[in-house]
């Protein structure tokens, strides 16, 4: 859990993913379209991956990945990200981290 907390407080937009997870890939694409480059942690390539998985599940995620954190706070999995985006709430959260192009 400590590692999760440490990792999410480092950068603005953090995505916990697995390199084999295609739904995580979809979330990465969405962020790309919104002009955001999240810090991605592929937990299947992390030696402490199992611990991270358990910590993420304990935080309330039904599936450990994808898990999105913005500004240190858990936004949720794909469901929550999509709902937030459709309701117009995602972009304001991402504004400070959007690439200036």
């Amino acid at each position: 859990m400590d590692k999760v907390v440490r990792l999410v407080s480092e950068r603005g937009v953090v995505l916990f993913s697995k390199s084999t997870c295609c739904l995580c890939y979809a979330v990465k694409i969405l962020f790309q379209e919104l002009g955001v480059t999240p810090t991605v942690h592929e937990i299947d390539q992390d030696p402490e991956g199992r611990e991270l998985e358990r910590a993420l599940m304990r935080l309330g995620c039904k599936a450990p990945v994808p898990a999105v954190f913005i500004g240190g706070k858990l936004v949720g999995s794909t469901n929550e990200v999509m709902s937030l985006h459709l309701s117009g709430g995602l972009i304001p959260l991402l504004k400070p981290y959007q690439a200036l192009c």
Binding site: T20, I29, T78
Partner: protein, 362 residues
């Protein structure tokens, strides 16, 4: 699976040569399995080698112990020898267990291959009694009953939806109060959410069924995207029907259209990645060997993600409807639901017409 456990015989109770009994048990196990793939002679060779090895070891130990003072170390000697023999027997037992398990694994893989061949011939119509046959492994029985339940539920759902469309039409023409109209809108919305719940349930049983859209008419299937209608398509159909919109509403709808499209694109690309992954897994390793079970097993794992995608797509549909209901007034929402229902009815009419129209001669 129960294996005879390796017994370390205590030196006190050692009267008979127990390890031989254990060897016998493993031998019997081999006899009871008729597997043409592992020849019994190979197993016997391994056994003989092991027995020869342990005898050599015992002899060596006997030889070394005879160098010691015979009188004083005799009982100690015996105990040491027995312990050594036990260790040998246990080692042999473990090796046999390993060979046995390996044999079982091979049989299992062979069984999977045979089941696949059976399924293939079944699909080619060579096997009599398919469909709702619950005998074949029991799994397809459960899947079929899940699908049958869904199809029945969907029929009822369509009847209810058509009824709601009529009610909406007459309600809008009759100019009923907003409060009464709100009730109709709410029930229309929850009716759609009910469908998503039903789909989620049958997706767990057979996700390919949901992806195929078999329960829908052909024209509806033509527009299908991950097991249902495209959310952006929904907005394209709805918006022209609910004019006039306020400036704020126009802005909100515009934003919703954009975020909907972005979410859709992301899921579409994720699906494409999934197809690539499954395809690459199936094609991995050498082709033309006739052995493909490991690749298929790996592809199965990857395909599990499809259920999540279908659920995600339905979630997107639900959210799109939900957000529209927040942006629109009650009257506009009622008109929107009516427009959506009628659009689908037109698609269904198109399917029927197409199925019945005279074909041009080839």
């Amino acid at each position: 699976m129960d294996f005879p456990s390796t017994q370390f015989v205590s030196s006190q109770t050692m009267a008979t040569y127990e390890p031989i009994h254990q060897i016998g048990m493993w031998g019997e196990n081999f006899k009871s399995i008729s597997n043409p793939n592992i020849s019994a002679s190979v197993i016997v060779d391994v056994v003989n080698k092991l027995e020869n090895e342990s005898e050599t070891t015992s002899h060596e130990m006997l030889a070394s112990s005879s160098k010691h003072d015979q009188e004083a170390s005799k009982p100690f000697d015996k105990i040491q020898r027995r312990l050594a023999q036990n260790r040998e027997a246990a080692r042999k037992s473990r090796l046999r267990k390993k060979a046995y398990v390996q044999q079982l694994e091979n049989s299992r893989l062979k069984l999977i291959q045979l089941e696949q061949e059976l399924e293939r011939s079944r699909q080619q119509g060579l096997y009599v009694g398919g469909g709702l046959d619950t005998g074949h492994l029991g799994i397809s029985g459960a899947v079929n009953s899940g699908i049958a339940a869904f199809e029945l539920g969907y029929e009822r759902w369509m009847e209810e939806r058509n009824k709601q469309i009529c009610e909406l039409r007459s309600a809008l023409n009759a100019q009923i109060s907003d409060i009464e109209l709100r009730i109709l809108v709410e029930s229309g919305m929850s009716h759609y959410f009910e469908l998503f719940r039903m789909k989620s349930s049958v997706a767990k049983a057979d996700v390919f069924y949901v992806m195929s859209g078999k329960w829908k008419t052909s024209a509806e299937r033509f527009f299908s995207w991950i097991g249902g209608f495209r959310p952006s398509e929904l907005l394209k159909v709805l918006v022209p029907q609910i004019d006039p919109l306020t400036d704020q509403q126009i802005l909100d709808v515009c934003n919703l259209k954009q975020s909907c499209q972005q979410a859709e694109d992301a899921l579409s690309q994720g699906m494409e990645k999934l197809r690539e992954t499954v395809s690459a897994t199936l094609a991995s390793d050498q082709m033309g060997q006739g052995i493909y079970v490991p690749q298929v097993a790996m592809a199965m794992e990857k395909l599990e993600a499809l259920v999540r995608f279908v659920n995600q797509a339905d979630h997107l549909r639900q959210q799109t409807l939900q957000q529209m209901s927040y942006i629109l007034t009650t009257r506009q929402a009622a008109r929107g639901l009516l427009a959506l229902g009628e659009y689908i009815q037109r698609l269904q009419a198109l399917s029927t017409l197409w199925a019945n129209h005279p074909r041009k001669p080839a």
